[in-house]
């Protein structure tokens, strides 16, 4: 949104309660849908995905790995569904090509030997962290601003308009106001809460999805189970890892977004029927995000609720300068922004058309460190003699941390470990932060970025955050790693005392 508006020359302030990628933007599958997944129940969403996917592959190519995807069915899967699939894909214009199962298994040797059908589709893998950071980067380069750790606490309304938006800086506790001509609510799953602050009601359901990250990349392509959408039927490669998911669990409370032991076991058992090697695979992390789903489903399965998005003009509720955009999915993020920006432009009388449809997304220096495997290659290629590695699993050197600290400072943020973590691979390798948190923590003290107990609190917070994602995976090797971590953090350093 901020990028789209900035490209139209509209002065925009982006406010975020925590940090960029803190919500579903950072907790998703990293899948650029070909649309094939939606062909049976939502042909228009499928076509939307197809168009946007093709566009983004051209315009945001450095965030995307064009892996291609497979849809595979195994013995016992609904054969009628399998038979209908090519026709349904054709209906939405999606290029799905039938593949002999032997060829599919040759391409992806880890696929089950119980395969009965396979189709190739133009799925791809996308780095969602990089995508968001690059969007924000361009928006700021064009004059937009970003306020992190700023929570919307209320709206002042007068004569059918939001006159001022009241915010709270969560770091300092201070209250401040923004006076804007137009207010757009793009808070994802939190859109309902924001709308409510303006006295508008939204019909939004929350569906939690949990995903598991493997230690090594298992397949070259995206692997989808060819059946009506269900649990754990997609495996997406991302750099050096693969991501398996998801679940879909209705939740009422947005404070409880974390992966559970039960979900993990369930995903694993389901996924293993498609790729048996998953049973013996080492996982390094689990995470969960929330899908905001529109409409009211009284039935159990939230997957039947539309994955389309909605732009809500709150004029009907008596507010003339407020709108909400929510629902949707990562693949259609650009289109959602376009539609919302069209509305804002029209209200402001700005006639410049949308440019994100034609303008490539420029690379941003500060955004590249989210990509698995990039830092090591860069570091080996060229590094200053005193540029030591702070994170050895993912090879993040001091210079990258310096770089990130200054870019966080530019965004008026506090460069604590968590903020460094969302912008780099720190804490995301095999040690899950055990060593790099201590090293980076010490480095932040050295640089004078933290004082007194702040740095220790930062280490505690960072490691607790990483813990949420490893706790459901603690058996075999990750359990050993967790024991080592506790021996150091508690046994030796007494950080729990």
């Amino acid at each position: 949104m901020a990028r789209d508006l900035a490209l139209r020359g509209i002065d925009c302030i982006l406010v975020e309660r925590y940090d960029i990628n803190a919500g579903a933007s950072g907790a998703n599958h990293g899948l650029l849908h070909s649309g094939a997944r939606y062909v049976s129940k939502d042909a228009s969403a499928a076509a939307e995905c197809r168009k946007e996917g093709a566009l983004l592959k051209k315009l945001a190519s450095d965030c995307i790995e064009d892996t291609g995807g497979l849809f595979v069915a195994i013995e016992g899967d609904d054969e009628r569904f399998v038979a209908d699939f090519p026709r349904l894909c054709a209906r939405s214009g999606i290029d799905a090509r039938s593949l002999p199962v032997e060829d599919a298994r040759e391409m992806e040797p880890l696929l089950s030997d119980k395969l009965i059908a396979a189709y190739r589709v133009p799925d791809a893998s996308v780095d969602p962290f990089k995508l968001t950071l690059e969007n924000v980067h361009q928006a700021r380069a064009l004059g937009g601003s970003l306020l992190r750790h700023s929570e919307v606490t209320g709206f002042e309304i007068d004569r059918h308009r939001i006159v001022r938006t009241r915010l709270k800086n969560l770091l300092t506790g201070e209250t401040f106001f923004i006076q804007a001509d137009q207010v757009l609510n793009a808070a994802g799953a939190w859109a309902k809460e924001i709308a409510a602050l303006a006295g508008c009601s939204l019909n939004l359901l929350y569906s939690k999805g949990t995903l598991l990250v493997t230690h090594n990349r298992l397949t070259r392509q995206v692997i989808n189970r060819l059946r009506p959408s269900s649990n754990a039927d997609i495996l997406v490669p991302g750099g050096t890892v693969s991501i398996l998911g998801t679940t879909s669990i209705r939740i009422d409370n947005l404070d409880a977004i974390y992966p559970t032991v039960e979900e993990t076991d369930f995903i694993l058992e389901e996924g293993a029927s498609m790729i048996p090697a998953l049973e013996k695979t080492r996982f390094i992390r689990a995470y969960a995000g929330v899908r905001p789903l529109l409409g009211s489903s009284t039935e159990g399965d939230d997957r039947k609720v539309s994955r389309g998005f909605a732009l809500i003009d709150h004029a009907e509720s008596g507010l003339n300068n407020f709108a909400t955009i929510t629902g949707g999915k990562l693949t259609t993020y650009r289109l959602m922004a376009e539609k919302a920006a069209d509305l804002i432009s029209q209200r402001l009388g700005v006639s410049t058309p949308c440019q994100t449809r034609t303008e490539p997304l420029p690379s941003a220096a500060g955004a590249k460190w989210t990509k698995p495997g990039l830092a090591p290659r860069m570091w080996i290629k060229e590094h200053a003699p005193d540029d030591i590695l702070l994170c050895e699993c993912e090879m993040v050197p001091k210079s990258v941390v310096d770089n990130l600290i200054s870019s966080i400072r530019q965004q008026n943020g506090t460069p604590d470990l968590k903020a460094l973590g969302v912008r780099s691979r720190i804490g995301k390798g095999a040690c899950q932060g055990t060593f790099c948190a201590l090293r980076t923590g010490a480095y932040l003290y050295d640089k004078g970025e933290v004082k007194e107990e702040e740095g220790l609190d930062g280490i505690r917070a960072f490691i607790s955050e990483r813990w949420r994602g490893i706790r459901p995976l603690l058996w075999d090797t990750p359990l050993i790693q967790a024991e080592l971590q506790e021996a150091i953090y508690c046994g030796m350093y007494g950080l729990e005392l």
Partner: protein
């Protein structure tokens, strides 16, 4: 399957020219507890063989904790570890400490520290009280017995004179500024400074071991002291990372103090740490001198019960020796040491398939919060034992007459939260060796 048959044949085959070692006691494990058990056995004239990978002991901080915290829920630290043990045992009668007399714990500590002292590692304790050690994070860790090289820091924490902490460029995870910042509320008069380690300017990442070894050379000590002396100013005590030599650490410290002019102390660093490495080297070199036959860097891959003892198959990849022994001390550690392992559902003891106390289903193993003060239930899992430290079955009966378990593999303790790791390792080893000797006399 063929591999399995080969292994069986190997075990049964006594004629081939493979190595067969006969002994009275086999100690499996080369962590603190295995080392201590071998020492106690050797000191009592028991013909002992020790097998295990000694690498993990370097994850030890070098501090010998006895009992620092109880109950863990309230994070209560104890000045007097002996009173803490009384309370722990009365609150929690299944804790391994409940099966050992305090007198024996004292004897065990005395024997181990005397041994380490003979090997050049002087340890100090107040006997009756715990003390706080400054860590490289700037946290204060309660411990019972510490290397003498750390003691000036322990004392200075009480008087807090003007002091100086120095770190080394390229040594990661050790920030003098962090230590002074974190300690500010309790020790405001601390300054910090950074030096480049002499002769190692070119290296990017510095590791503690090459630095510690380089300080065995007087010239290198002089060069280091030459860098430190001008930084002292008003400081009356100087803290440095724990790199003051290997087995000669006391001499290195004394020499440095003479050249710098003020007391110097070591601060334990992130593992693998030099104080842990020193302990490992002391055991590795001195236990064989006491007659212990050691097979370090080897694992026991299989154990068979025989009529009058046990047959152990040893070898990391393929079998390289068979050990015939009357008794076994199982000091194989927990998950990191591979004494226990877990799949998604069950925690197992892999060598003998001994019954393992299960703290609920996996859902219950770990708390939602990593630093939850109550500790993780999985840390209470492990082997349950009788009064003679023999693993027992569900009815409480020992499974084998001469099989003993010691150290962190034992159930109903949480050494990481209770700060009792070394104490548990040493005391239970002492009790197990004592029980073995008593049974051998019968």
């Amino acid at each position: 399957m063929t591999e399995e048959i080969e292994r069986l044949q190997f075990l049964l085959d006594t004629s081939a020219d493979k190595k067969v070692i006969t002994c009275d006691l086999a100690v499996i494990g080369a962590g603190m507890s295995g080392m201590a058990a071998s020492l106690f056995a050797a000191d009592r004239g028991v013909d002992t063989v020790q097998i295990g990978i000694a690498s993990q002991i370097i994850f030890s901080s070098g501090l010998l904790d006895l009992l620092g915290v109880h109950p863990v829920e309230t994070a209560q630290t104890w000045k007097d570890p002996w009173k803490a043990i009384d309370r722990l045992v009365s609150d929690q009668s299944d804790h391994p400490f409940a099966r050992i007399e305090k007198k024996h714990i004292r004897e065990a500590f005395a024997e181990v520290t005397a041994f380490l002292g003979d090997a050049g590692l002087t340890y100090r304790s107040d006997q009756e009280s715990n003390r706080f050690v400054i860590t490289s994070l700037g946290t204060l860790k309660p411990t019972y017995c510490a290397p003498a090289t750390m003691w000036n820091g322990i004392d200075a924490l009480q008087t807090t004179p003007p002091g100086l902490i120095v770190d080394i460029r390229g040594l990661r995870g050790f920030s003098a500024r962090q230590i002074t910042e974190t300690l500010k509320p309790v020790w405001p008069g601390l300054r910090h400074a950074t030096i480049a380690f002499p002769g190692m300017h070119k290296a990017q990442e510095l590791y503690t071991e090459p630095m510690a070894r380089s300080l065995a050379v007087a010239q290198n000590r002089q060069a280091l002291a030459g860098l430190l002396r001008p930084l002292v100013e008003d400081a009356r005590v100087l803290g440095v990372p724990a790199i003051l030599g290997m087995q000669n650490s006391r001499d290195v410290q004394t020499d440095m103090e003479a050249m710098i002019g003020i007391p110097v102390f070591e601060i334990p660093t992130m593992p693998p740490s030099i104080p842990g490495l020193r302990i490992r080297e002391a055991f590795e070199t001195k236990l064989p001198e006491k007659g212990v036959r050691v097979l370090y860097q080897q694992r026991v891959s299989r154990i068979e019960k025989t009529e009058d003892g046990f047959l152990l198959e040893v070898g990391s990849d393929k079998p390289m020796a068979t050990i015939k022994t009357k008794g076994v001390v199982l000091a194989t550690g927990r998950f990191l040491g591979k004494g226990l392992n877990a799949d998604r559902k069950v925690i197992r003891e892999p060598l003998l398939g001994l019954p393992v106390y299960q703290p609920g289903a996996r859902l219950d193993w770990h708390r939602f919060d990593f630093l939850d003060r109550r500790g993780h239930l999985i840390n209470r899992s492990g082997l349950e034992i009788d009064g003679r430290f023999r693993p027992v079955d569900a009815s409480g009966k020992p499974i084998y007459n001469n099989l003993y378990a010691t150290g962190s593999i034992l159930a109903h303790q949480d050494w990481m939260r209770q700060k009792c790791g070394s104490g548990l390792a040493i005391a239970t080893a002492y009790a197990a060796v004592k029980a073995f000797l008593e049974s051998a006399l019968v």
